[in-house]
């Protein structure tokens, strides 16, 4: 049974055609292996307690690996419950490319990092800006366009997004 926040976040995600999985920290590595389609590339997570190094995800990929990957895994230090949004940060680990090139984007977000709505998210952003971290993409669902006569997903960005929510320790 998930908490209200996770449930609400998952509801927002499902309305965006975005899949989600909830795991505990212990289950994290197995959880990632379950939701990726290889070949997978990743940007090492911005969390002390979670790492992609023991998963079948290639970190610091070459351009060829990036282009050839089916899945890209990044960590997100902020999610928005009401919208199903995750923040992609422009970091030296290359989150931006990893989240953008492969057709599947798997974003890892921790329960404790979920903000209720856009207003709370802006509170978080203001703090980040003050701390000197000033480049984020708020990504909501897969990329899409209606310009070709019907709504199509996966234009310049991913066609599928899967969010892995890491439950806080009980």
């Amino acid at each position: 049974m998930e908490t209200g926040t996770i449930q609400e976040f998952q509801q927002s995600l499902s309305s965006l055609d975005t899949a989600s999985t909830v795991v505990s920290a212990d289950e994290f590595e197995a959880g990632i292996a379950d939701v990726i389609e290889t070949p997978a590339v990743g940007a090492e997570l911005p969390f002390d307690d979670l790492s992609l190094s023991e998963t079948p995800v290639t970190l610091d990929p070459s351009p060829a690996q990036l282009r050839g990957a089916t899945t890209g895994v990044t960590g997100s230090r902020m999610g928005i419950t009401s919208l199903g949004t995750v923040a992609v940060e422009s970091r030296e680990e290359g989150d931006e490319f990893v989240a953008l090139y492969p057709e599947r984007h798997v974003a890892v977000v921790r329960e404790r990092d979920l903000e209720a709505d856009l207003s709370d998210a802006f509170g978080w952003l203001r703090n980040e800006f003050e701390a000197g971290r000033q480049s984020f993409i708020l990504a909501t669902g897969p990329s899409s366009t209606g310009d070709m006569g019907a709504l199509v997903q996966g234009v310049h960005g991913p066609e599928h997004v899967h969010i892995v929510i890491v439950r806080d320790n009980e």
């Binding site: 610091d60 990929p61 070459s62 351009p63 060829a64 990036l66 282009r67 919208l83 949004t85 422009s90 970091r91 030296e92 290359g94 989150d95 931006e96 490319f97 953008l100 856009l118 207003s119 802006f122 952003l125 203001r126 800006f129 000033q134 480049s135 984020f136 993409i137 708020l138 990504a139 909501t140 669902g141 897969p142 990329s143 899409s144 366009t145 209606g146 310009d147 070709m148 006569g149 019907a150 709504l151 199509v152 996966g154 234009v155 310049h156 960005g157 991913p158």
Partner: protein, 737 residues
Amino acid sequence: MSESTKLDADRIRTLLETESAEIKENTRLFNAERYDAVEAVGAEAHEGYRDRAREIKEDAIERLPELIHQTRSAVEANGGTVYVADDAADANRYVSEVLDDEGADSVVKSKSMTTEEIDLNEALEANDVDVWETDLGEFVIQVAEEAPSHIVGPSLHKSREEITELFEREFDPDESLDSAQKLTAFAREYLGERIDDADVGITGANFVMAESGSIALVTNEGNARKCASIPDTHVAVAGIEKIIPSVAELEPFAELISRSATGQDIPQYLSLLTPPVDTPTIDFDREDEPAFGGGDAERDFHLVLIDNGRRAMRQDDELRETLYCIRCGACANSCANFQSVGGHAFGGETYTGGIATGWEAGIEGLDVAEEFNDLCTGCSRCVNACPVKIDIPWINTVVRDRINRGKDPGFDDLLVDGLVPDEEESGTPLRKRFFGNFETVAKLGSATAPVSNAVAGTGAARTAMESVLGIDARRDLPEFERTTLRDWAQARDTAVEDPMRRVALYPDLYTNYVQTERGKAAVRVLEALGCEVVVPDAGGSGRAPLSQGMIATAEEKAEGVAESLLPYLDAGYDVVVVEPSDLAMFQREYEKLLPAETHERIAEGSYEVMEFVYGLLENGAELDALPGGEGDGVAYHSHCQQRTLGLEEYTKIVLERLGYDVLTSDVECCGMAGSFGYKSEYYDLSVDVGQSLVDQFEPAADERTVVASGTSCMEQLDSLLAPGTRHPVELLDPVRR
């Protein structure tokens, strides 16, 4: 715009035949989604964001020089460069120099209206640089060598089939691109290669944040992110008006922009970038090297802020509000005329839709704005749609006035000066002065009725009117009554004992001279509900001249109305108005035409007739005093300006309380909008817009009485559906008992 593309009946007809179907479908979908999204977030919250957004923009434009300075400091501190370009040539020269310095021969772009404005692509291509638009809609336009038809959806006038045909012709692909999926996949691969190979990425900026030197980009496709992060050099091009103080001020805009544009709560990608970003550079020439090729290239960032007329707009009290625009396209989507013909008619060299007149007048000049300015009928449906509360109809009126004044006086003027003396400078076109002086026409027509009606109805007169004044012969003309409403009212003996309220019923031109029956009904209804009613000696509201851009004449009329009505307001009378477009004058435009205190008194003391009836019933007036509806059906079309004022519901509620079954129209506008529908070149467009109302009412018209609140709406319905449309107050008339 070349001479051949000037707006005339033929060009409008061509656009109705070729682009209308797609534009209608797409803009109406955006519009409907916007309504749903606003409802979902709650009208109150939405209003709060709009107020805050407006406040931020007012402040930012006021402090613009300081914010430009702050932006420069912040971007330079981050390691980027800021260039403020005076005009298009200056901007293009700067961007070309950046490309030269980088040795760049290929550029990928993310959709940017500002670079459309300065014709950046042409300038770069002239220097042998390959330029690729990566927004799919913009790519379609680039391949088709056309101009965008919409601020948000540049190619929304094209059907999927047309795009398939275009791509198959231009690219000769191995397999047919006969679905949106295949087209998208093709474009993704084609453009993806070009993005990876590009030397420089050029984006716009939806917002620039002065404090941190950040830019915000709003996209659904992800192409802005690619253009900003994949090439090592990023050039962002934005108008100086895009600057807001800091990330804190971005919040209301983040709430508003996608909701207003497409009805999304938030775009797929809302990027807040503070370049040069930390994302490593990527080197595709070392494709097997880890760490994205292990390149040690530096990221380079240039922010080009463009003036191109904006600083002058900032100094212009009437055009300044245009700079608050966040380019969401809601004004276009909510515009009935735009829905029919799109931005290739209702747009200038760059910008399209309602706000385009302000932009084009400020950036290109009055001559460019003139080509489509008359397509704004002043219906005001865009006013509530605009997320920053820009009074778009007023900007269109001001520009129209300036266009009028810029004309050389000709023989026509000498003629008209004697016949219809007004406050306008010579040069205002004869036809505009004819419609603008409708009060004089109505007075004469009424005084000489029924002869005037008979003469006006002859074939010879209609031919003359069409050739001299451009009044379409297919339109029925209003028939003037010999006895005006005011004459009728003065000749009556009435006394309401111990009146509940005392009412000055404003005799607008149509109610006084043409639709006198609705005026008489209004008097009898108000009396039956316990009001003393007088019809004061007040002239036209100024709506007619205002619609023609004759502001000085409208101001004179407004002063006349104030002089007539203020004594009644002082004596405790309520002013009741039958014609919604005149009530809208009192409530909205008089703010621009009269001293603030006078405007406030008139606006606060005046009511739409059915709104007033509702108020009387709420305050104890007897519903039984009016004839009941007995379950009869009514098809009710409110009026665009009445809806903008939020007064549509009162009529519906009153009719329902009386026992009518009410079907309400949900179209944006009837397409008539006063003089617009009479003008020969707009006749087809007016009928096309009206058709959506007809489509909704036709199936019900046999069983339902068709009622409309506005005169022009009634005329449009009468001519397109079935003659016999009435004003709702006529259903309430006690003589119907």
